[in-house]
């Protein structure tokens, strides 16, 4: 083995493409040199169809739901129908009479939400499993419940937990959090943070103006099209699992721990996963159940949550109540911002929304207090940019209110608080695309329409995005080049829709001078080297630099073989399309591969540590144009312009798709999605997809994704993520556009027709008063 070489200090250019500046960075030994501005690229950063698309459009992509085996048992979970109850007894005696049924009873004395699991069983058919569930008799003693955020905050509210609750963290969560916090009644917190002055009172007293605003957001469920599911099969003392997961390695680690197995005896695969959005990081109780039942039965078990269970118990984005007070100067710049948030993740924690007010704009003095409130509802968990859509909706409403009070353009107020050059370029680009200069004329037209009694109003709104460059360390990649010239690349990362098979192939193809279609990617299994979880916008940034390093190492080895054929020095050999070249001569890829000394060339690549320096934030801005019918209350989003940066995009089609998807989820959140709960029984009335409304094809507006390329100077491909930032500002931009259309500040989502009509009525009252 070669001696480890020292890292190289290299000068590179970083910043906005076209406006880069020189910077010295430390590149780890063995890592590929960072891509340079102006360096021609054939396929890296291109638009092209996703490589696994042909399996998806033909139904040949196999998901956890689709796993079939001889002798398969079907798992089901018995869940509490009550919001809060003591379990007096569980009678499972009838199960003994049903052939082929195995079950696993949880040691549990109390259920705290509708959907809280009690027992899991497996039977030879779905119908038999369903019937077996009905054969179990549970005797409950109903306890008082609370299912409403503000009710749960009251002093005499029923207690969800008698004892303090610790916080869990997953790969999709925003950084920070954890640690001990006070817990009083159902309120855990506050967690205090901030920057600048500790005491804001003087700043509020000295301000040109002060805005106070309360903004509320509702719970949103992930509603992945593939419900949570797991297949488990024991072969001897080894566990084989096919999981619907955002992280095969985290599922493996968790199951290894549960079953006291070494990691090499737990095998998890997830080639295709039907969405996750933050809700599929761990093995899940369903995953543990499937493995336990399979062990008991000595047969494979597949456990698929039905849609009702999925909506009740498989995670959600917590709701929020954000109380804000901001002091500002006449130019719209904020001098102090006080922010208190409360939110319920049901029986879980993690409802904080305060990151945005600290990180999105350059407010000099910020005081944040975040509290979790427990309710008797299914646990919240990470959901695409945890806390950020909520916090953005809140902060951006305040900025629009400041603009309204100062009769300033809302965009001018943003710019007065936003010194970041990338973001400023994005504001400028987006404003041009949406034609923001129409805004004041639209205001006048809306007043005219109101005076004439016409129903339609048109509004424009904008909001900023913020997220973070988060790298999950440890990714490794193997590249194999065979003597016939074929290429394989291995990494365990799962495919949940982000397009990892395509980004991996594109990166390898760029380095080796090949077509991405000719690179065989092997993914979605713990049998391959470690890959990151898919979440938190960490996947591409954690993985792609390692992919490039592995391919770069292969290219260097092959260049050494090509050099004598070209009569050139190894260092002069360059990779072209299907060739190696030097001094005007070329040799073909195949002829070089044929000269490999062994049967196959194997190289590896590691994810080197990020280079130092540069802002760790990801930015972005979005602009929305809406039409509101004040007679029906119906909002039509006509257009969303989404300007984002994600370093250098690896595969532009995929980035566009992430942006479009993030925008649509944001619109769906702003306008349609709402969990309805019967307060008396504590039951969710719409745990389904017919009454829990998510956006459909008819509701999708024109979306214009625009990417600003940035040489981040953090890794060898300048890669960053995009999944979270794409959804952070959408709901805020849409709501601000609606407020503009109506001339009334909307402070609660979803903005249903009823809320629109109420807002219109409130304005009428104001005008007549």
């Amino acid at each position: 083995m070669a001696e480890p070489k020292a890292a190289n200090r290299t000068k590179i250019r970083v910043g906005l493409a076209g406006k880069t500046v020189e910077k010295e960075v430390e590149v780890a030994a063995g890592d590929a040199p960072p891509l340079a501005e102006g360096q021609p690229r054939r396929v890296f950063g291109s638009r092209r169809p996703r490589l696994d698309g042909r399996f998806k459009v033909t139904g040949r992509a196999v998901y956890a739901h689709d796993v079939r085996r001889e002798g398969l048992l079907h798992g089901r979970i018995l869940r509490s129908p009550h919001a809060h109850a003591r379990i007096v007894s569980v009678d499972t005696s009838a199960l003994a009479k049903i052939p082929g049924v195995v079950f696993e009873l949880l040691e549990k004395k109390e259920v705290r939400y509708q959907g809280d699991p009690i027992l899991a069983l497996a039977a030879p058919s779905l119908a038999a499993a369903e019937d077996a569930l009905h054969a179990v008799a549970v005797n409950y003693e109903i306890l008082p419940h609370v299912v409403d955020l503000e009710e749960a905050m009251k002093d005499l509210a029923p207690l969800v937990f008698e004892k303090p609750v610790a916080e869990r963290h997953t790969a999709g969560d925003a950084p920070g959090g954890g640690g001990a916090l006070p817990q009083k009644g159902n309120i855990r917190g506050p967690r205090a943070s901030g920057r600048g002055e500790k005491n804001l009172a003087k700043l509020f007293a000295d301000a040109d103006g002060v805005v106070e605003l309360t903004v509320r957001t509702q719970v949103q469920t992930h509603a992945c099209m593939e419900t949570h599911s797991s297949f488990a099969e024991w072969k001897g003392d080894e566990l084989h699992v096919v999981a619907s997961t955002q992280g095969v390695f985290s599922v493996r680690d968790e199951l290894a721990e549960v079953f006291h197995l070494p990691k090499d005896k737990v095998h998890v695969t997830a080639a295709y996963v039907g969405g996750g959005f933050g809700s599929k990081f761990g093995a899940g109780d369903y995953g543990v159940f499937a493995a336990k039942l399979a062990k008991k039965a000595g047969r494979p078990v597949r456990l698929i949550l039905d849609r009702k269970e999925d909506q009740l118990a498989a995670g959600n984005r917590p709701d929020s109540l954000n109380r804000m007070k901001a002091a500002y100067r006449k130019d719209g710049s904020v001098t102090a911002f006080s922010y208190a948030s409360f939110g319920t993740a049901g029986v879980a924690t993690g409802a904080g929304t305060g990151a945005v007010v600290k990180n999105s704009y350059a407010f000099p003095n910020v005081a944040v207090e975040e509290s979790d409130v427990f309710t008797n509802l299914g646990p919240g968990c990470a959901m695409r940019a945890p806390g950020h859509p909520q916090g953005t909706l809140a902060v951006e409403a305040v900025l629009d209110e400041i603009a309204a009070r100062l009769t300033l353009d809302p965009l001018a107020v943003r710019l007065a608080n936003d010194p970041v050059d990338i973001r400023r370029a994005e504001w400028e680009r987006g404003a041009r695309e949406i034609r923001w200069e129409r805004r004041s004329a639209l205001t006048a037209k809306n007043r005219e329409a109101a005076a004439k009694g016409l129903p339609l109003r048109r509004g424009l709104g904008c909001a900023a995005s913020v997220w973070y460059n988060i790298v999950s360390p440890g990714s490794q990649v193997i590249v194999r080049v065979h003597r016939d010239g074929s290429v394989e690349v291995e990494n365990g990362v799962q495919e949940i829709g982000c397009g990892n098979p395509t980004t991996i192939a594109v990166t390898v193809a760029e380095e080796l001078g090949l077509a991405p279609e000719s690179v065989r990617v092997k993914w979605g299994s713990t049998a391959y080297p470690y890959g990151p979880a898919s979440g938190g916008s960490t996947t591409t940034v954690s993985l792609i630099p390692a992919v490039r390093a592995a391919a770069w190492n292969a290219a260097r080895k092959l260049a050494a073989i090509a050099a004598p054929l070209l009569g050139a020095q190894e260092s002069d050999v360059v990779v072209g399309e299907g060739v190696f070249g030097a001094g005007g001569k070329t040799v073909s890829w195949k002829s070089v591969c044929a000269k490999l000394p062994g049967d196959v060339l194997v190289t590896t690549g590691d994810r080197a540590k990020d280079y130092d320096g540069t802002d760790p934030r990801l930015f972005g801005v979005q602009f929305a144009e809406v039409v509101v019918d004040v007679e029906t209350g119906i909002v039509t989003v006509e257009k969303v312009v989404a300007v984002h940066d994600c370093g250098l995009p690896v595969w532009r089609t995929g980035v566009d798709g992430q942006i479009r998807g993030g925008v649509l989820q944001g619109i769906s959140y702003a306008l349609y999605e709402e969990r309805h709960i019967d307060r008396r029984s504590g039951r969710v009335l719409n745990p389904n997809l017919e009454m829990y409304k998510i956006l459909g094809a008819k509701d999708a507006p024109e979306i214009v994704p625009i990417l600003i390329d940035v040489y981040t100077g953090k890794n060898n491909t300048h890669t960053r993520g995009i999944g979270e930032p794409a959804t952070v500002p959408t709901s805020a931009a849409v709501v601000n556009a609606i407020s503009h259309a109506l001339g009334v500040r909307i402070t609660e989502i979803p903005v249903t027709p009823a809320r629109i009509l109420a807002a219109v009525a409130s304005r009428r009252k104001e005008v007549t008063a």
């Binding site: 998806k56 033909t58 019937d131 295709y272 969405g275 925008v663 999708a700």
Partner: protein, 196 residues
């Protein structure tokens, strides 16, 4: 259709009722004619992608379940099992139906086309190719249903208007939000989605 015997659950009954409505709409009077086997009586035969598939099924078995569990055609997905998401869409005698809301007994003697019947990874149908080229998907779970709905539209309306495309896909939920690509693919615009 359902006979109130021990095996019939409330959910099964609801499904049966809803299926009657779907089948009635799809095939008119024939669904009401009493010339087919009653549920639970002997073997039924469903022609799936051109191949006759015999089987014996419990009355409550849905077409989706039969396709996936008995015949191994797992390209048809079950997202909600309640007719709300469209992931299970198949063609029943050429019309798009939710196979989770269709009892397999109601497909007896009829033709079913699933996603597997439209093309294969190395032999994509023109519409499947259009979905790939316009990137009308992300995770891909809703995609088979989406493609089948689009296929049903294109068979009856070869050159659909944009509003017809959106209406045809309105019953297919996509949580990733890949609608714009899917709409472009279904409309025959191969570059109007993510490549635009």
């Amino acid at each position: 259709m359902t006979n109130g015997s021990r095996g019939v659950t409330r959910r099964g009954l609801l499904k049966g009722l809803a299926t009657t409505a779907v089948a009635g709409a799809a095939s008119g009077a024939s669904a009401l004619a009493d010339d087919r086997k009653r549920p639970g009586e002997g073997t039924i035969t469903v022609t799936v992608n051109g191949t006759p598939r015999p089987g014996v099924f419990a009355p409550r078995t849905t077409l989706a379940e039969a396709l996936r569990e008995t015949w191994g055609l797992t390209g048809t997905k079950i997202g909600c099992d309640r007719g709300a998401c469209g992931a299970c869409t198949v063609l029943l005698d050429g019309l798009a139906v939710n196979s989770c809301m269709t009892l397999v007994h109601d497909a007896d003697g009829r033709n079913v086309t699933t996603i597997e019947g439209l093309g294969a990874p190395d032999a994509l149908s023109p519409l499947q190719r259009a979905f790939v080229e316009a990137d009308g998907m992300q995770c891909g779970f809703c995609t088979p249903g989406m493609v089948v709905s689009a296929e049903a539209l294109r068979r009856r309306t070869p050159d659909p208007k944009p509003e017809e495309v959106r209406a045809a896909l309105a019953g297919n939920l996509c949580r990733c939000g890949a609608y714009t690509g899917a709409i472009a693919a279904c409309a025959g615009d191969r570059t109007g989605g993510s490549h635009g």
